[in-house]
Amino acid sequence: MIVRMSKVEIAGPKQLLQDVLALVRSLDLFQIEPSTVGFIEKGQEEDLRSYSLDEKTLFERLFLEDLRDKIQKLFSYLPCLPVRMSYLDPQPIIGTIAYTLEKHIASCRELSEQKQNYERELSELKRYSGFLDTLESLFRDSGTEPNLDVIGLTIKDLSSVEQVRTLLSRLTGGKFKLFTVPAGDGTLGGLITVEKTISEKVSRALSSEHIPEMSLPESFDLLSLPGKIEYLEKRTAEIIDGIGGIDQNIERTCKRWKPIYISVLAWIEERLSLLTASVSAFQTKMCFFINGWMPTSDIERLKDHLNASYPHQVVVEEKEMHEEDLERVPVMLKNPPYFRPFELFTRVLRLPTYTSLDPTPFIGIFFPVFFGMILGDAGYGIILLILSIILKKQFSKKAMIRDASQILFISSIYSILFGTLYGEFFGDLPHRFFRIEPICVERRTAVIPMLYFTLTVGVVHILLGLVLGVITAVKKKTKKEAFYKVISILIIACLITVLATFFDIFPEIVARPVILAILFLMPFLLFTGGLLAPLELLKSIGNIISYVRIMAIGLTSVLLAFMANNIAGLMGNVVIGIVIAVMLHLLNIVLGVFSPTIHSLRLHYVEFFSKFYEQGGRQFDPLRKGDAGKPY
């Protein structure tokens, strides 16, 4: 349901503003309204002006914002490690923190740059290492070929290897060998052996094709091949040690200082949020005024707290709510624990307006019923029940999954209930093995009775939607719309009565007066709903017929389960039969989760909500701890 809100003004001596804001924030029940519209009466606007921070507070704000940015910069250098909690009070040490922060940023920046240099060098060395290893094995194998020359090159990716190979084939007439070694950065190190006589020609061709030759650093020039390899290994080990040392150093800084900086950052954000919020207040020469919205039921609590802290100094006044205010009142949904998970479905759409109705309780009642009616299999229901319990335990901390599993839990109970009524347990197994007849109806064969049943459900749901539409219109004080909805309800009821006479549910004699009643109501419908009203009426009839999907989707589910059992029975082998049946039933369960969910939701969103739901409400967003950076 939508919580009743009040328009409230808090006033007091100007010097108490920051303290009052801190108190209001700790209560988590007041949304500040920065706009004056609807709060400040005409004629008083000139006496009031926006609250502006004094020089000292402004300096404090700039200092804290700078400190916050610096802490965030330091965090970008530090790894994400689980750290202890700091219990130091940040306020007295804020000056010291500003000093140490500079030092830590400088040292962490230096370490980070050093690590980047090491990593760059390591990547280069890996490339040379692959190159030299291949070179060594080549010279070991071809020691008897003194006429060979070796060319090293960098190939950008695997697809370019073929291009190089084609080029070499053309230049050397196939007298070459190409070895490739993957380098660390995604490129390939290539090694070509060709006869000395054509090596220069190959080098030139490679250069003209923009394939860079690999050249070793100058420091390698004086070393022999084994010396080069040994030097590489030694340097690589040194770099790995160096990186390890830097990581340890940064980790040590992180474990020692990050907890302190985290608590300082939290304190800074709290303080900044207070300073930012104070800009939304108004002031006269002596007093401050804070305008905003809060739940009506919490006004007394706020008054008590303010009275206790500032007796006879701060006043809370509930202002009269005007009709034009209704569009700006923020919306807060509050539902009993059973319905709360279903807010997940309400929040898929935009929030309802303050004058509309919260559809959550209706989704909470009808969604599981529709789900159960569609799936309608006790066996599937039990599996989904177990699955929902596992999900709830596994993801107890993730609100969205917890809510979804709670919805699945309730829906699976309804599936078991309807499965029992339909006599379905993994399809027609009760009938197949034990000759148990359904308690209520066998969906597979009773197509027409199920069709009538689902149409009846549709009539009830749509008429309920229209009744809720009447209530919404009355709340909005739009009498014409309320009358239109009432007339629509009456005409739909009359049409259903006429249809019922066709199917011998009511005697035929009833039809004539009911048709006359429809004709009598039609002008009123046109008057209240406009020329498109009959079209809307037809749409409502279409909406009712749409509920047949409950039966149609259910029928496909039961037929799939029936076929799974039939196919399994035809296998001739018990084991294979069971495997086939399990696989087909699993498929049906997967479909049985998605299909009923989507169609039940559609029936709510398209058919039911269109009768009363008005989107566009503003979320109630009270001043609370951790609101730093919130734009006012």
């Binding site: 898929v348 759409l349 197509v447 027409i448 069709l451 066709f502 199917f503 011998d504 279409g542 017929i545 749409s546 047949v548 999907r549 149609a552 989507i598 939701l601 559609r602 969103y605 398209v606």
Partner: protein, 74 residues
């Protein structure tokens, strides 16, 4: 008698088949446009799901007619 049954079956098949094709065509158009919209505005997910689901009413109506033809409405 057999011809009559065949005609009834054909009519029922046409009632559901044609409406299924119509729904599929409409959903393909809405689905493609919806996917494009979602790439730019993911917050429209609910609206797109509703829009995609709207043409399903056609096949449901077709199904009702087919059921009436096969099993007799009255």
């Amino acid at each position: 008698m057999i011809t009559e049954k065949a005609l009834i079956a054909l009519c029922a098949a046409l009632a559901i088949g044609l409406t299924a094709l119509a729904t599929a065509w409409a959903q393909s158009k809405i689905g493609a446009a919806g996917a494009g919209s979602l790439a730019e505005k993911p917050e429209l997910t609910a609206t797109i799901v509703i829009l995609v689901a709207i043409p399903e009413t056609m096949v449901i109506l077709g199904f009702v007619i087919a059921a009436m033809i096969l099993f007799g409405g009255k």
